[in-house]
Symmetry: C2
């Protein structure tokens, strides 16, 4: 829901969009279908980067392996097993490559404050360091003003839902659940956060939960 | 020859190695066979990261597309077409992910001074910015001392050949040519640099060239 809200926000701001979804062997590969739905809705170009061979090398996370997905609220103690090492640096590097190849003016990412505690690659310091690195990496190529846009980096998931509701984002057509079943499990960390975000935002939650 | 020399140098320094080769759809995919030969020789673990879907998104380079590989000496004017946008950031991000997953102490890359002029992601400023970004990206995960080792960043290709010769690197079992034919073409930018490096180093060149 974070990425889809961001895509809608950028479309509203007048950007011509290219969405890059990543298959890293996640159990909830279903999220890619919802990314495609979003691209179709917004008339955006859409690609899936197949990084499954990389995902296999990064084994040891409940998102990709046969480790049980932890239930309940995010907390360092039980959610660290959902860390895919260096996931955001890998995905953002790919996005920057595409952006340079396309002469794009901005790379956007929906990292948000709710994830700061568990995931170092969602923190503002990471976003700043990443943008600084990229300025060096592609100097002289692509659009010289190319930058990294992370408008949710200081927002909670509830605040993202507020933004999305004001933009008319169809949240029934978004996917969060790490289990990747028929419906959202309602129990894993990301389902727990999803439910809570709608409640705190005071926005009706259209999601069908199994639990 | 740069990466293979680096692997031999690290082996000599006592590191236990894992080599990660990258298939990004390069015409000279043959280099992967030579990377595997190197891994076998050094008793190193070996993986190929399949980034062909990413390579397709980064189209427009003579290394991956049907654009002719330029001949002769490297120069910004004719070699810029061999730039794969953001290639080193993408490959190094993957390497860092693997390093964190494996609790490795160092990520090593064979970027060197000869490439600074054309490729921004081979320059010392990039290496420094990349390491700084990675410290933020994986904070709290993997080995806390994990760093980026680029011992050739201020060396020319001739100086790398000198290092390799002193280590007994079997350069006949390395591959440079961007054309990826039966033998080294002897005409493309990387063949030109390869020939010159042996000459300047005063080391016999065991390479079979077609031209």
């Amino acid at each position: 829901m974070d990425s889809v809200t961001l895509a809608h926000l950028l479309a509203r701001e007048g950007y011509e969009l290219r969405l890059v979804a990543v298959d890293y062997g996640q159990r909830h590969v279903k999220e890619l279908e919802y990314a495609k739905l979003c691209a179709d809705r917004l008339g955006a170009d859409f690609d899936v980067a197949d990084l499954r061979s990389v995902g296999r090398m990064l084994g040891g996370s409940a998102l990709t392996d046969d480790i049980a997905v932890p239930h309940g609220h995010y907390a360092a103690s039980n959610m660290a097993v959902t860390v895919v090492p260096n996931r955001n640096a890998i995905m953002l590097s790919v996005a920057y490559g595409v952006a340079v190849a396309e002469d794009a003016t901005v790379v956007a990412a929906a990292v948000h404050a709710g994830d700061h505690y568990v995931y170092p690659d969602c923190r503002p310091e990471f976003i700043e360091a990443f943008e600084a690195m990229q300025r060096k990496a592609v100097e002289g190529f692509g659009d010289p003003s190319l930058g990294l846009y992370a408008p949710f980096v200081h927002k909670t998931k509830a605040e993202i839902v507020e933004v999305g509701a004001s933009l008319g984002v169809p949240y029934a057509d978004t996917w969060s659940c790490y289990e990747g079943g028929e419906v959202h499990c309602g129990l894993c960390g990301t389902c727990t956060e999803r439910k809570e975000a709608f409640e705190l935002a005071g926005v009706p939650d259209p999601t069908v939960y199994g639990g």
